[in-house]
């Protein structure tokens, strides 16, 4: 049985000056960054982990941690990327790149598991959208906490796309409940779509379905209220609904579960910011 002492990582525990320590760390960081830039995600991740283990809490190790999250995301190792991001935000609450970490969390959920139909170029909204709603929450947290972050515009664009997709999914459920004869369920779901996703094109169809659901249930007053909203006149006491676009996707695209939504934003994410890190800078340079 193996009982020789387990050798820890090769530590030379001799006393080292601060600067020497920083130089070693920077060298290890450059190795990692080289792999990152040439998309060698696995080896980059290994270097970053070694960096934060041997030079914990150094400035460069913190930067390494951010880039490790990016490498995990690009390696589509979603769960580890998300937990690494949460750990980073917990430990470095005031780090300058928190907005980028949030942005990465959103992207990881956005491209969580490429679905079969999405390979056909049709972003189906009929399947599981729970990952999409998590992505939506991450992006909205990014925009609220960092209104002037450089990732705000891309996040905003993705949020619109996600909101429309989730709204369409919900309307799909409303359509099923009407077909199934569960009119109150349909009306209630439609109501939630209109309340939670104002401006999504699907809200228009949601209102239509709500009106027919109430009509079939025999609740004509509610049906008339819905009809009035559809026609654009505000209801007494209810704000005018922002119904967003009224166009609907062609039937064949809906058959496959697609929608003529804004087409899918470019999937290659923005790599981590290079400028702010001291990587390129000479390691011995004084800290900013």
């Amino acid at each position: 049985c193996s009982n020789e002492k387990k050798k820890g990582p090769a530590f030379d525990t001799s006393e080292k000056s601060e600067a020497q320590l920083k130089a070693e760390a920077a060298a290890l960081y450059r190795l990692a960054r080289k792999d990152l830039d040439s998309s060698q995600w696995q080896s980059a991740i290994a270097y970053y982990e070694d960096l934060s283990k041997r030079y914990p809490f150094t400035e460069i190790a913190t930067q390494g941690e951010i880039e490790r999250i990016y490498a995990l995301y690009r390696n589509s190792d979603s769960d580890r990327a998300l937990s690494a991001a949460d750990k980073f935000m917990r430990e470095h609450p005031r780090n300058g790149h928190i907005d980028y970490v949030l942005y990465l969390k959103g992207l990881t959920e956005f491209y969580r598991d490429p679905s079969f139909s999405s390979m056909l170029g049709v972003q189906s909204y009929l399947g599981d959208v729970s990952a999409d709603s998590r992505a939506f929450d991450n992006f909205s947290m990014l925009i609220q906490r960092f209104p002037d972050s450089r990732y705000r515009s891309d996040a905003r664009e993705r949020m619109v796309y996600l909101r429309n997709k989730i709204a369409l999914h919900e309307v799909g459920v409303v359509r099923f409940y009407v077909k199934r004869g569960a009119y109150i369920a349909a009306a209630k779901r439609a109501e939630q779509v209109i309340a939670q996703y104002p401006g999504a094109p699907a809200t228009f169809e949601a209102l239509e379905l709500m009106e027919s659901a109430y009509r079939r249930a025999g609740l004509n007053e509610q049906a008339d209220d819905a009809a009035r909203l559809l026609a654009g006149q505000p209801n007494p006491g209810a704000a005018v609904l922002d119904l967003g676009g009224t166009e609907k996707a062609p039937w064949w695209k809906r058959l496959l579960g697609g929608s003529d939504n804004a087409d899918v934003p470019d999937s290659t994410a923005v790599p981590p910011p290079e400028g702010t890190t001291p990587a390129a800078a000479d390691p011995a340079a004084p800290q900013p």
Binding site: Y183, A217, L219, D225, G237
Partner: protein, 128 residues
């Protein structure tokens, strides 16, 4: 009734005449909610009224429904519609009978297939 087995459809609140008889004008919203429960089919566009809508379609196709609308003036119950039994045949009763007969049929169906949810026997009084 056709032999085809259609799935039963239950929607909205189960309205019990005993609860309706407890309602009086002037009750606050909380009191009404305590007696009747949450109005599942409340109308989103009209704040000042709560509609309790009960609807049941049995597997053999007969359907019964009932609507009770409660109006509130500055958060006090001011007007009630459809509270008295609409006709001699007790409208709320079919709901309960239908559910019970339906339940008995389901019970022996499921008893043969999978026993009702099997659980460790909790110490008396333990919630399921």
């Amino acid at each position: 009734c056709q032999i085809l087995y259609r799935l039963p459809t239950r929607q909205g609140n189960v309205i019990d005449q005993r609860d309706l008889n407890k309602l009086q004008i002037g009750m606050t919203r909380e009191q009404v909610k305590f007696v009747m429960g949450t109005p599942v089919a409340a109308n989103p566009f009209r704040d000042e009224r709560w509609d309790y809508f009960g609807y049941y379609k049995s597997p053999r196709g007969q359907s019964t429904s009932r609507t009770v609308s409660l109006y509130f003036a500055d958060n006090k119950l001011s007007r009630m519609e459809g509270v008295q039994q609409a006709s001699t045949e007790d409208l709320s009763a079919p709901d309960m009978q239908a559910i019970q007969t339906d339940f008995k049929k389901e019970a022996n169906d499921s008893r043969t297939a999978a026993p009702p949810v099997d659980r460790q026997t909790p110490i008396p009084g333990g919630t399921p």
